[in-house]
């Protein structure tokens, strides 16, 4: 009984390492967001007032404090219909597609959740994100009729200067 915590820790490390390494090997990163505010996640929809197409900011907050602001660290992913106005005028929309729910089962070990990011921490999460060439996000609230919508998002950050 006294070894139970140790066994639990070793088991956790094993699971965590395995997932992380597998994810690192992929150039494509899949993110799962709850789609609602709460539980260290938030979503802000920026509605365009004419054509009603929305830009969506998906935030993941960390328990760690920011070195500068003493606020929680966060990472933000942004979804827009077009990456920019140039692409909009070319009518080249951002990839947005639907897959079967079996996608979850097949790829559960490489889908990054908010919980997983909390586990590996802010710095490692950012490293993982920076390592990815393409980031897809699944918004749980958009899952309909056993269909999952996957959309490409961009990691938004304000670079230092």
């Amino acid at each position: 009984m006294k070894y139970l915590p140790l066994i639990f820790i070793l088991f956790s490390i094993n699971i965590y390492s395995q997932d992380l390494e597998k994810i690192k090997q992929n150039e494509v990163l899949f993110i799962l967001h709850n789609g609602i505010n709460g539980n260290y996640q938030s979503k802000r929809v920026w509605q365009k007032h004419k054509d009603k197409r929305a830009s969506i900011f998906y935030n993941f907050f960390f328990k760690e404090e920011n070195y500068y602001s003493l606020q929680h660290e966060k990472v933000t992913f942004t979804y827009t219909h077009y990456f920019d106005f140039d692409e909009q005028y070319k009518d080249n929309p951002v990839p947005y597609f639907k897959v079967n729910q079996s996608f979850f089962k097949k790829n559960k070990d490489i889908i990054v959740t908010g919980k997983f990011m909390q586990k590996i921490g802010y710095v490692e999460s950012v490293r993982l994100i920076n390592n990815a060439k393409t980031i897809f996000l699944i918004d749980k609230t958009e899952i309909q009729d056993k269909k999952i919508f996957i959309k490409e998002v961009r990691y938004s950050y304000i670079a230092e200067e």
Binding site: H49, D51, F57, Y68, S69, T80, D84, V126, A159, E160
Partner: protein
């Protein structure tokens, strides 16, 4: 009068005799040249400055002569004595024709002169005492004629005036000259391709073709200038060889080679204008007269003429000239138009390597420097300063600066030295590095990054240089310096500039971004932003959203990079509505607007 006429007739007769001799012997001369060339031990070489400097005795004489010449000229001018145009020349000491014939050798230097002037060279030849005698060799044809006419069309009468290198008895020595007839002997370089004009005088200028003319004094007459209008001929007093017989103790006939001035009339005019407008001193004039440096004079002339030789242009031109002398690369137009005494070498695309990042950088940079505010703020700081230098550099990646985890868009590294007594900055070098990995953003966002880094470079000058650099509107220099020092001592390390920018420079940055908006954001993109996006009303956050506001856009875009300053944290990060607008405007500003930049 009678005596004068007699002398003139004698001189005319002598010239006629020489002319007839040359005309009659044209074919024979050529044949003789060929025969002589095969047997000749005469060696002719083109010497660069490097070669010339291997002869310290000559260099010493040359320098001494140039110094004396300058002193002589300046004394004449300052004392307002009679100006002697005879010695108003500049020797191009960067190239020479070296002729060796047994123990004899000579160096012939061109003067800086017009193509339409009668050609004059300065020849140094070794005398019996192992010293150098100098002669002004004056030809009876211009460089244009020399380059285009053939042997039969040219007057080959040439005078050699001894030059007193020490100027000890200048007036006495100037009264002697030799009127010589030279034998023109074609002399080709080793890799000369036969049948390409070799042996013909036409086009035989040393820098055009593989053959040169070596001139050997065959017949000379000494001319005494006893009076201004009186000449006397006196045979056999010259130390020259005539007809194979040495007279006057000379070891042999003088050998020289006509060297046209490297500059034509227009180029010479440009050089002279630059000398005059920039008020170059003697060493500077000597430098700009060098053939290889002529290009700089032409650049400076074009630059000055374009800018109407304004006071500002002259000051900048002088500063640029000094950089050129130090072999620093200077782009006059860009440097003058930009705020910096800058080096764009590392960010400029080339035809062979049109690196897209460099193309984009230069395009955006050129838009940025059109902003009057940007120019006004910085031009006097860097543009006219000899001590303040800024270099731009594009780097593959800039590693995150802990505790940050993301690569910065840019970074400004400065190195400065300050005179502790005067407080003046004596040397300042800033290197602005732009991260190529982060250049895939909108053009206006990249312009903001360049602006942001430029402000870092500027603020360092204002902090340490006190009264150096352009004053900032609303501050006197001392006040600004004290303020910056206060920020430096109280702010978080590396954030002092950011705190200051947030508190005082957002309006300035906004004004500059407004100046370049139309150049970098296509109208359709502007209309898209204005027509389709709304923002939180910061004065009524729960009320209806309000339309796009360019002033807010400039302000929030300018805040990018300042996010770790206390001012940002207190004013924006802790205000949900402002933070939301900051993110929204930033999202479009950084990633929404066009990444393209069109010249």
């Amino acid at each position: 009068m009678k005596n004068k006429l007699k002398k003139l007739l004698r001189f005319g007769f002598a010239l006629l005799t020489i002319s007839l001799l040359l005309t009659n012997c044209e074919k024979e001369t050529k044949e003789e040249i060929q025969a002589e060339s095969q047997e000749s031990t005469l060696i002719l070489k083109h010497y660069s400055k490097q070669d010339i400097e291997k002869n310290p005795k000559l260099v010493s004489r040359l320098n001494k002569f140039n110094d004396k010449l300058t002193k002589y000229k300046s004394e004449n001018v300052s004392a307002r004595t009679v100006y002697n145009s005879e010695y108003d020349f500049t020797i191009n000491t960067n190239l020479a024709t070296y002729i060796e014939n047994g123990d004899y050798h000579s160096y012939t230097f061109p003067l800086v002169q017009d193509d339409d002037e009668k050609m004059t060279n300065v020849m140094f030849e070794l005398n019996d005492q192992g010293e150098y005698d100098a002669f002004l060799v004056k030809y009876d044809y211009t460089a244009n004629e020399f380059n285009t006419l053939d042997l039969t069309s040219l007057s080959l009468v040439t005078s050699m005036e001894p030059i007193d290198l020490d100027f000890n008895s200048l007036s006495a020595r100037r009264n002697v000259a030799y009127i010589c007839v030279f034998t023109y002997d074609s002399h080709c370089c080793d890799n000369w391709v036969p049948g390409y004009g070799c042996g013909e005088l036409t086009g035989a200028a040393y820098y055009n073709y593989g053959c040169d003319w070596s001139l050997t004094a065959q017949y000379c007459e000494t001319v005494y200038y006893q009076e201004e209008d009186s000449t006397t001929y006196n045979n056999n007093t010259a130390t020259v060889t005539i007809g194979g017989t040495t007279y006057g103790g000379s070891s042999g006939g003088s050998h020289t080679s006509p060297m046209p001035s490297p500059f034509n009339a227009e180029e010479l005019m440009k050089i002279n204008v630059v000398k005059s407008e920039l008020e170059l001193n003697h060493p500077e004039r000597v430098w700009i007269d060098e053939w290889v440096n002529g290009q700089y004079a032409f650049q400076l002339y074009d630059f000055g003429a374009t800018n109407m030789w304004s006071v500002e242009a002259k000051a900048f031109g002088k500063s640029a000239f000094r950089d050129m002398m130090l072999n620093k690369k200077v782009d006059l137009e860009e440097s003058f138009a930009s705020p910096f005494n800058l080096d764009l070498e590392l960010v400029r695309p080339t035809i062979l390597n049109p690196e897209p990042e460099k193309v984009k950088f230069m395009c955006i940079y050129n838009k940025l420097i059109k902003s009057p505010k940007f120019k006004k703020l910085f031009i006097d700081t860097f543009g006219e300063s000899e001590n303040l230098h800024v270099k731009f550099k594009l780097v593959d990646n800039i590693p995150p600066v802990p505790p940050s985890t993301t690569s910065p868009n840019g970074i400004t590294k400065t190195r400065l030295s300050v005179n502790p007594t005067t407080g003046e900055i004596t040397g300042y070098d800033a290197v602005i590095e732009i991260n190529k990995g982060n250049m895939g953003v909108s053009s206006i966002s990249l312009a903001k990054t360049i602006l942001h880094e430029s402000i870092h470079a500027y603020l360092t000058v204002k902090q340490y240089g006190c009264n150096q650099g352009t004053p900032l509107d609303g501050f006197d220099d001392v006040e600004l310096s004290e303020l910056l020092n206060m920020y430096f001592s109280t702010a978080c390390p590396a954030q002092s500039d950011h705190e200051f920018m947030f508190d005082y420079l957002l309006p300035t940055m906004s004004e500059i971004l407004a100046d370049i908006k139309d150049d970098l954001v296509p109208l359709s993109h502007q209309q898209e932003a204005e027509g389709n996006y709304t923002f939180i009303d910061e004065s009524n956050p729960t009320g209806p959203e309000i339309p796009w506001d360019w002033n807010k856009f400039y302000k929030y875009l300018s805040m990018n990079g300042l996010q770790n300053s206390n001012a940002f944290i207190n004013n924006v990060l802790n205000s949900p509505s402002k933070l939301s607008n900051f993110n929204s405007y930033g999202s479009l500003g950084v990633n929404g607007f066009s990444k393209e930049c069109n010249d």
